[in-house]
């Protein structure tokens, strides 16, 4: 029986058992068989403890920082200094419960519902354009219960998770060889990305568009899409950007000689204000002091906070920039307050925790029991890494401002839930990793490799 047959057979309705190909769970049946033979079931190792512990530590620090960061603004507004903290704490506790529940779900169940989740998330992305809560001229939030909702969530957040799960599912179904073709390795994914990105474009949700695109690319990259397609896209993007800069330079400084083109001259002459809101953010990124009270205000305040933290920080709770100087101080810019209060040392400590979390995630992916599990862990870990990197890069003005929050830190209940659910999924995958045999501890390879 060849691959094609296996693929078509699995798509027959009513054959749930048969759907599972060896690409999905290569070791599953073998292990079941061996278990049957050996009669001594391996002791279930449970969820990955390091992953769980690191997550909980980061979450704890994050919630404390929400308290510290929101304290000042809360004091000046009706809700009181503890309102945001208490809300975040409630979400954190319930989120941990959700995480543990999700970690109990088997990878197979997750895989089974992944395409449906994508479908639902696309529906939600359409729905948000109609019933979404309007804020700053864009509808990105859907409220549940009441006018503005007791709970609000961003369909884009769900779409990211759905994308990870569905792409993993598709990659497994398409199979390794076909992933190398353009027809199977690029087109189906491109179509889904296209739909999602266009829907996000209607929300003017730049950050989600960026993350979704990167995430999709990472999934395809991990899934085995040929590198040349990525290189082609990168080439197109690079030529577009350099073309843009070239024409900008020509218009702004026609006398400029080619050999005089440096970073400075580009920064001085290129003006993106013609590109609307995003363009102004780019201008502010290139020159934060150009409009210190306007577009550059937020990034300047952020840098002030980070810089005045110094090496050891002002001390927990001692931020001064949070006293209404820095906008979004408990939200997208919470890391600036972290840097101000805990200093370079504290910031590096938190970054180290994130690095541990991420490396542990990839390690779990490499050890996952099956390809699907591996792919979704890669996706979730990458999403986490992407969010953390982009957030900190923005608050330190390495990149232009986008609305990306810092996982486990930024204030936001449903987003935190989703992050914890994603960790729950990783934990779910992790608990299916067999405990390594004593003599095989050094062979940390892919557990489902038939060689083992």
């Amino acid at each position: 029986m060849n691959k094609r047959q296996a693929f078509s057979e699995t798509n027959k309705p009513g054959t749930q058992e048969l759907r599972l190909t060896d690409d999905h769970f290569p070791n599953w049946r073998e292990r079941e068989l061996s278990a049957r033979h050996i009669k001594t079931a391996e002791k279930a190792p449970g969820v990955d403890k390091p992953m769980l512990v690191i997550t909980l530590v980061i979450l704890l620090i994050g919630v404390i920082m929400v308290l510290s960061a929101s304290f000042a603004r809360g004091s000046y507004t009706a809700g009181g200094p503890l309102r945001l903290f208490l809300r975040q704490a409630i979400f954190a506790v319930t989120g941990i419960i959700l995480m543990l529940i999700v970690s109990k779900i088997s990878t197979r169940t997750i895989s089974r519902w992944s395409m449906q989740l994508l479908f639902v998330s696309i529906i939600l992305l359409v729905l948000v354009l109609i019933i979404g809560i309007e804020a700053n001229g864009a509808k990105r939030w859907i409220g549940i219960g009441g006018e503005n909702g007791i709970l609000t969530f961003q369909p884009s957040e769900i779409a990211k998770l759905a994308l990870i799960l569905s792409f993993a599912q598709m990659i497994c179904k398409i199979g390794g060889n076909k992933m190398k073709t353009f027809k199977f390795g690029v087109v189906p994914f491109a179509i889904i990305i296209g739909i999602v990105v266009i829907l996000l474009r209607f929300q003017s949700h730049m950050s989600a568009m960026i993350i979704v695109t990167f995430l999709a690319a990472i999934m395809m990259f991990a899934g085995g899409t040929r590198l040349r397609w990525f290189l082609m896209v990168v080439a197109v993007l690079v030529s577009m950007v350099s073309g843009l800069i070239y024409f900008q330079l020509r218009a702004a400084a026609p006398q400029l000689d080619a050999k005089d083109v440096t970073i400075e001259t580009i920064v001085d002459n290129v003006d993106f204000s013609g590109f609307g809101y995003q363009g102004r953010r780019i201008n502010a990124w290139l020159d934060p002091d150009g409009d210190p009270l306007g577009d550059g205000f937020q990034i300047r305040q952020s840098l002030n906070a980070i810089g005045s933290g110094g090496f050891l920080g002002q001390g927990l709770g001692q931020s001064r920039q949070k006293y209404l100087y820095l906008p979004e101080e408990h939200n997208d810019y919470i890391f600036s307050i972290v840097c101000e209060e805990l200093g370079f040392v504290g910031a590096m400590l938190i970054i180290m925790l994130f690095i541990l979390l991420i490396i542990r995630g990839y390690w779990l992916a490499m050890n996952a029991n099956d390809k699907f599990g591996s792919l979704i862990v890669i996706g979730i870990t990458s999403l986490l890494a992407l969010q953390v990197f982009l957030n900190i890069a923005v608050v330190t003005n390495m990149l232009p401002a986008t609305g990306i929050s810092l996982p486990f830190f930024s204030y936001g209940g449903t987003a935190l839930w989703l992050q914890l659910i994603q960790i729950g999924i990783i934990l779910s995958v992790s608990k299916e990793i067999p405990a390594p045999a004593e003599d095989k501890t050094e062979d940390a390879g892919f557990a489902y490799d038939p060689e083992y």
């Binding site: 810089g307 006293y323 370079f344 690095i355 992916a365 490499m366 330190t396 038939p450």
Partner: protein, 783 residues
């Protein structure tokens, strides 16, 4: 079909191997790609972030920290109260009192969405500021501090408070501030100077001693949130309390200052003085400055406004620019302490110094006879140059003291030549006339003298000859009076000073000035002779009009013209000549307590009074001394029998008395009287009781009820009349007379000015004071 089944099935081994190989390859590819992702997402990305954070938080931390603090720290100043300035008797001349500034926070007004127009209209109405100004300030919505009006008075700040609370407004604030007050207005204005809006001394002692007076401003440094409110839970910040300024006690006696200014202002009117006047009063024994007055003067409370009638002088200027220029010049002139800054040619007053050096050098004594035939020739290389005396016919043979009280130029030239140029300059130097006196002032002027090479030229005596009677050089008034004081105080050149002591806000003395003798210039004996000769000037000579009955007054007159003018005008063109009429007087002559130098710069020729120091400056100094000696210095007059006919006396009160008793009282006081009516009791008297009146006045007593005339009468013109003529002219109108200046009993005395000008309507029975001058007593102007 299952994997397990496959294992056992007969799938060709090659295919299985291929599949296995491809799967292995795929797995390897996934592994490699995952490791790649782990490297990029887990390590490289965060390494970049770490570098970036290191750059911001460690390398450039100080930059960001300072940038942050500059936005977060709010420094409020706690204003130190500026020290007060007191006169020698502890009377306040300058003080700072609390007031309030009104400011708005445009940001807050905008944030609270309040009606700026309504606020601006009301503020403009209450504070009297321009509505559009307020509206313009309110557009600066990023600001929280826009001053609407500084230093508002109590009434205005109350109204502002009421306006705020009635309308429940926010964003309008009052902050405490201080304002400099000069409670006596113009009094001693050029000494004190004035302060700018920030209470920084801009002129006079306010400027000179600004560092002492201003104190140290306190600072309150606090962290604030972005709205400018204090940061909660923060111990960060600093507080430095303000240290109030030190207080300055001056040597100036405000009572003397008051009389000096009063008579100076009157002299300006009486003699129509064109270019202002200067007066210095000094304690000749100690060098303490008792008063300095300059005219035109101003009120330091409103120092930008022109004082006195100066504004009227500008009225004729039509051109706007020209007007502004003139206004600015008038401001500069009124602020200028000319007594310390502007050098002038002292003229005959300088003869004091020439006399002193002749006596000290024993080139002459009281028995020396000086011949004057009206002119003297002095050596000018092979030729001679003639110096005229003011008396064209000459004074003939005169003793030393008569040469001085005649103010004889020829005699003074002889004196100067007798000591020689080198000795002359030696004394000029010894009297401190080459150097600044070093008095505490924002600025002091320099004297101008011939260069030694010119002055010491033995072939040319013209400079020495002219200098001997006070021409062809310039000294400042303060230099002149300081030198003159040394001639009468026993010969000691005293350091003139204005500041008695400075005490800090707790009362500790941080600076105290004592009388400082710089050097002894003359012997006590010479000084004694000087005093007696200068007393003769007033009792017998050109200074007669400065005589104050009951006191021994010494002095010297001077009438000088500038060397610049000499070069410009024809010698005989006396009509257009500008003169400085001056007088230096001191009293009591045997024990000088006060010395006054008065300069009247360019009296008008149009008053008809012959312009000379003796005619104009001397009577004014006499009037000053008549007030100052008893009132300010507590020196009571001692009248001689001869004086009695000349003095003014108090009119006793006889109303209600029987006519006999009343008559007796009046007779005892030297009055005559006329009874009007048939009654036995005095119902009214004219002049009114307690007025000062010339002795020997005929008093009207009304006995038939109060039937004294109530109508007004016209004051007659009295200029040039003798005392008796003036008294008769006044009596015809039902007016009474009182005199100052030269003795009324002296037949040569003539009225020069009258206290109520001719043509004015006054009540029947009013008293007119006339200034008598001995017109013969004034030197003639020739130089």
């Amino acid at each position: 079909m299952s994997y397990g089944v496959q294992v056992g099935s007969n799938v060709p081994a090659r295919a299985r191997t291929e599949k296995k190989n491809s799967k292995q390859k795929q797995n390897r590819s996934l592994l490699i790609r995952t490791v790649f992702l782990m490297t990029v997402c887990g390590v490289v990305a965060f390494a970049l972030l770490a570098f970036r954070l290191y750059d911001i938080q460690v390398v450039n931390s100080a930059y960001y920290e300072s940038r942050t603090l500059s936005a977060q720290l709010r420094e409020t100043t706690i204003s130190a109260t500026r020290g007060s300035i007191y006169d020698a008797n502890g009377k306040i001349l300058a003080m700072s009192g609390p007031v309030e500034n009104v400011f708005i926070s445009p940001r807050e007004i905008m944030e609270k969405e309040q009606d700026m127009r309504f606020i601006a209209e009301n503020l403009a109405y209450i504070l009297g500021v321009d509505f559009s100004d307020i509206m313009e300030k309110s557009t600066k919505t990023s600001s929280q501090y826009q001053i609407i009006k500084s230093k508002v008075n109590d009434l205005e700040s109350e109204k502002i408070r009421a306006f705020i609370s009635e309308n429940r407004l926010s964003g309008i604030y009052l902050e405490p501030a201080t304002k400099r007050y000069y409670p006596n207005g113009e009094l001693a204005s050029q000494i004190l100077g004035f302060v700018g809006t920030d209470e920084h001394g801009l002129d006079g002692l306010e400027m000179k001693y600004n560092a002492y007076l201003s104190g140290v401003t306190g600072r309150d440094i606090r962290l604030t949130n972005a709205k400018g409110y204090d940061l909660m839970l923060s111990g960060y910040g600093d507080y430095y309390d303000a240290r109030n300024g030190s207080n300055i006690v001056l040597t100036v006696n405000s009572s003397i200052q008051y009389y000096v200014e009063k008579h100076l202002a009157q002299a300006i009117i009486d003699y129509d003085v064109q270019k202002g006047a200067i007066c210095i009063a000094i304690n000749p024994k100690t060098g303490e400055i008792l008063a300095i007055a300059n005219y035109p003067t101003y009120d330091p409370n409103n120092f930008l406004e022109l004082g006195g009638e100066q504004i009227e002088r500008l009225a004729g200027i039509e051109d706007k620019e020209e007007y502004e220029e003139a206004y600015k010049n008038a401001q500069l002139l009124q602020w200028r302490n000319r007594a310390l800054m502007d050098a002038y040619e002292p003229g005959s007053v300088f003869k004091i110094i020439t006399l002193a050096m002749v006596l000290e050098e024993n080139k002459a004594n009281l028995d020396t006879i000086f011949e004057c035939n009206g002119k003297i020739d002095v050596k000018l290389y092979d030729d001679v140059s003639t110096r005229n005396c003011w008396s064209r016919w000459g004074h003939g043979a005169q003793s030393l003291n008569s040469a001085i009280y005649n103010s004889c130029n020829v005699a003074c030239v002889r004196m100067g030549l007798s000591v020689g140029a080198r000795t002359f300059y030696k004394y000029v130097d010894a009297f401190g006339l080459f150097d600044k006196t070093g008095i505490e002032a924002a600025a002091e002027g320099r004297s101008i003298w011939w260069d030694e090479s010119v002055f010491f030229d033995t072939g040319n005596e013209t400079q020495l000859a002219s200098a001997s009677f006070g021409q062809t050089f310039k000294v400042t008034p303060i230099q002149m009076i300081t030198a003159a004081a040394a001639t009468v105080n026993g010969g000691y050149l005293m350091q003139p000073y204005l500041v008695k002591q400075i005490t800090d806000s707790e009362g500790n003395i941080i600076l105290a000035n004592e009388p400082t003798m710089l050097r002894q210039v003359l012997s006590n004996e010479t000084s004694l002779v000087m005093r007696s000769i200068l007393e003769d000037v007033v009792s017998l000579g050109t200074g007669k009009n400065a005589n104050v009955k009951g006191y021994r007054v010494g002095g010297k007159t001077g009438t000088s013209e500038s060397i610049e003018q000499l070069a410009m005008l024809e010698e005989n063109d006396t009509v257009n000549k500008d003169y400085i009429a001056s007088f230096l007087g001191f009293a009591p002559a045997d024990d000088p307590q006060i010395m006054i130098l008065l300069l009247l710069d360019t009296p008008s020729h149009e008053t008809g009074i012959y312009i000379s120091g003796g005619n104009m400056a001397a009577p004014v100094v006499g009037k000053m001394l008549a007030d100052i000696l008893p009132m300010s210095l507590g020196i009571l007059p001692e009248y001689t029998d001869g004086d009695f006919g000349d003095i003014n006396v108090h009119m006793p009160r006889v109303v209600g008395q029987g006519i006999d008793e009343a008559g007796e009282i009046l007779r005892q006081n030297g009055f005559t009287y006329t009874l009007i009516g048939e009654g036995a009791i005095v119902a009214n008297q004219l002049p009114a009781p307690n007025t000062s009146i010339a002795s020997g006045t005929n008093v009207f007593l009304y006995t038939d009820g109060d039937d004294a005339p109530r109508d007004t009468v016209t004051v007659p013109a009295l200029y040039g009349m003798s005392y008796n003529q003036a008294r008769t002219a006044l009596a015809e109108q039902g007016l009474f007379i009182r005199t100052t200046g030269a003795p009324k009993t002296d037949g040569k005395s003539r009225v020069s000015v009258q206290s109520i000008s001719a043509g004015r309507e006054v009540m029947y029975g009013s008293v007119v004071e006339v200034t008598l001058i001995d017109s013969d007593a004034s030197e003639r102007r020739t130089n």
